[in-house]
């Protein structure tokens, strides 16, 4: 879902026929480049979503080490038993 939002944002910032917002060949005219803000937002967003993915993968790994399965239904049954 995050990826689709990033694509949406990036497409909002793109203006047809213009270059990425890096000054090239000394052209400082604003008309030559696309809007840099959405690209900046997407970069920030990607950093956030990578760290969240890493965190959730670590969580899954921990569950697997404990219960030797990644099936949530089985894990719930095992965890209930452990509580009692």
């Amino acid at each position: 879902m995050d990826t689709s939002i990033f694509l949406f944002l990036a497409s909002k910032g793109y203006i047809f026929g213009r270059a990425a917002p890096i000054i090239k060949d000394g052209i400082t005219n604003m008309e030559a480049y696309i809007n840099p803000v959405p690209s900046g937002l997407v970069l920030t967003g990607i950093v956030v979503s990578v760290s969240v993915s890493a965190f959730s993968l670590a969580l899954v790994q921990r569950l697997y080490k404990k219960y030797k399965t990644v099936n949530l239904d089985e894990i719930l049954v095992l965890a209930k038993k452990e509580e009692e």
């Binding site: 949406f8 937002l41 956030v48 969240v52 965190f55 569950l63 894990i75 452990e82």
Partner: protein
């Protein structure tokens, strides 16, 4: 620029720095001390800010790095923000002090510095949510808040907490995804991210009738995202397991503070990005009102069915969040005042309930079932009193913190007949339901244990664990603060009113 204007930025930065340096310490003492110092510093800074902004009756925006408005990032502070930041630091300090033994017991010793790291980041992200004036900064800190909150849930190393964390993480990510989508849509139609600039564009868009569908969609997505993260009724499914299974300090902070951070952001958006009139014309407030009223009742019904004490308290949070959202949904100034006051009242009551429950569970052989806790208040009188005060406050008895918001909810609803009928019915029904599950619990805690249990409890008395002085003293402070909020609600309400007027 007066020096005190730097306070919001300093308090956020200080917590961040604390979070960065604490993992380098091996022993648990030093991170604890650093954390306590930081919270105390945040408290002092917010207090200074509160006093100056109240006496001058002014609010201000603070430019980060001195870049002017359309390019720079801004913080914004006034009496309301300072009051909330101060309350948050008090609650966090008391919860951590009270839950200290739980933390030392539930978490592996090598992980304890990391736990305090997470606490520092959590405080910094909540302060940033309170103070920020920029939508995208709000999104980034929402994500930081999510990760920290999940980490403090999973810090207690059992299978149940990891499952609860995964559930919490997925729901939270869904919520922040919705929020991000809402922000990006709003950006695409207004071209701004700073709240004040967005507001001008939004007012213009509404007046000219342009882009109505994207505007409503983006507002709806943002409200939905924040509602999921603050556990408004139909989206509450992650809350009981996450709050019920973690260690005491985590449960207290999650229920008391983390849920509130998002609601405060929502209040700020209502005032700073949209105006109350626009919200009413788009019917968003009606939706929030109905869901809040439903939450008040359904949360209490679910709590009635629970026999696990911490899960019962967690379901009660769902009901209390319903109160706050109903106040927001009334769409009147008094309703929002009631919601803000209830944020404070709940922040001071729920951690006390969790801490007292911890005290009661400790003297009952670490059993969490209601039956096993029978008579436990006689063994640990202060925890018993703490639980009783918390329960009475949640029911809404006069003199306790939970009373004032209910009156103001009633007053706030009187402008509209339909709102009045629904509010009064929901208030009456939910107070009754609250009483139905809290009163029997309190009575059971204070009654004599059954005869056959007597033999067991004598044996227990021999090896009775030493009661934690920290736990008892923090419960004591919570009780006092609860009475302060319940009796002196006039001046606090006045501060909130000043703050809200300056917010608009």
């Amino acid at each position: 620029m007066p020096f005190v204007y730097n306070m919001p930025f300093f308090s956020i930065l200080l917590c961040m720095l604390g979070g960065i340096i604490t993992p380098f310490f091996r022993k648990r003492r030093i991170p604890q001390i650093i954390n306590t110092c930081i919270i105390a510093a945040v408290f002092a800074m917010s207090l200074a800010l509160l006093i100056t902004s109240l006496t001058a009756e002014e609010s201000f925006t603070y430019m980060m790095g001195h870049f002017p408005a359309p390019w720079g990032n801004e913080l914004r502070a006034g009496p309301l923000e300072a009051l909330l930041a101060m309350a948050f630091s008090i609650v966090m300090f008391l919860s951590l002090v009270g839950g200290m033994r739980g933390v030392n017991h539930d978490i592996r010793p090598t992980r304890i510095p990391l736990y305090y790291t997470m606490m520092n980041f959590l405080l910094s992200s909540m302060l940033a949510l309170i103070y920020t004036n920029d939508m995208f900064t709000a999104y980034v800190f929402i994500e930081i808040n999510t990760i920290c909150a999940c980490a403090i849930v999973m810090s207690k190393d059992s299978g149940m907490t990891v499952v609860a964390t995964i559930r919490y993480l997925i729901m939270s990510l869904l919520g922040s995804g919705f929020f991000l989508f809402g922000v990006s849509m709003l950006y695409s139609i207004t071209g701004h991210l700073l709240m004040s600039n967005v507001q001008q564009s939004v007012i213009m868009l509404v007046e000219t009738g342009q882009h109505t569908v994207p505007l409503v969609t983006s507002l709806g997505l943002m409200v939905l995202g924040l509602a999921i993260k603050s556990a408004l009724y139909p989206f509450h499914s992650w809350l009981p397991s996450a709050h019920g299974s973690s260690t005491t300090a985590s449960s207290a902070i999650l229920s008391g503070l983390v849920l509130k951070g998002y609601i405060i952001l929502l209040v700020k958006m209502f005032y700073r990005v949209f105006t109350p009139e626009i919200l009413a014309s788009l019917h968003i407030t009606d939706v929030i009102f109905v869901l809040g009223a439903l939450g008040m009742i359904m949360g209490s019904i679910k709590a009635l069915k629970e026999t696990h004490i911490k899960r019962m308290i967690a379901y009660s949070s769902v009901a209390q969040i319903g109160y706050i959202f109903m106040g927001l949904g009334l769409g009147t100034q008094v309703g929002i005042m009631a919601a803000c006051f209830h944020i404070l009242a709940h922040a001071f009551t729920k951690p006390m309930l969790f801490l007292s429950a911890n005290g009661l569970v400790d003297v009952s052989d670490h059993q969490y079932e209601m039956k096993a806790l029978r008579g436990s208040a006689r063994k640990d009188i202060i925890s018993g009193i703490g639980f009783t005060v918390g329960a009475l406050s949640m029911i809404g008895i006069p003199l306790f913190a939970g009373f004032a918001p209910k009156i103001f909810l009633g007053i706030g609803s009187m402008e509209n007949n339909f709102h009045m009928i629904v509010t009064f019915l929901a208030l009456a029904l939910s107070s009754l339901l609250n009483a139905l599950y809290y009163v029997p619990a309190v009575v059971a805690f204070w009654s004599k244990p059954k005869q056959q249990a007597q033999g067991g409890s004598i044996a227990l008395h021999q090896e009775k664990t030493k009661k934690s002085v920290f736990l008892l003293s923090s419960i004591g402070v919570f009780i006092v603060l609860n009475f302060v909020l319940g009796i002196a609600y006039g001046p606090i309400m006045k501060m909130i009113t000043t703050g809200l007027n300056l917010l608009g």
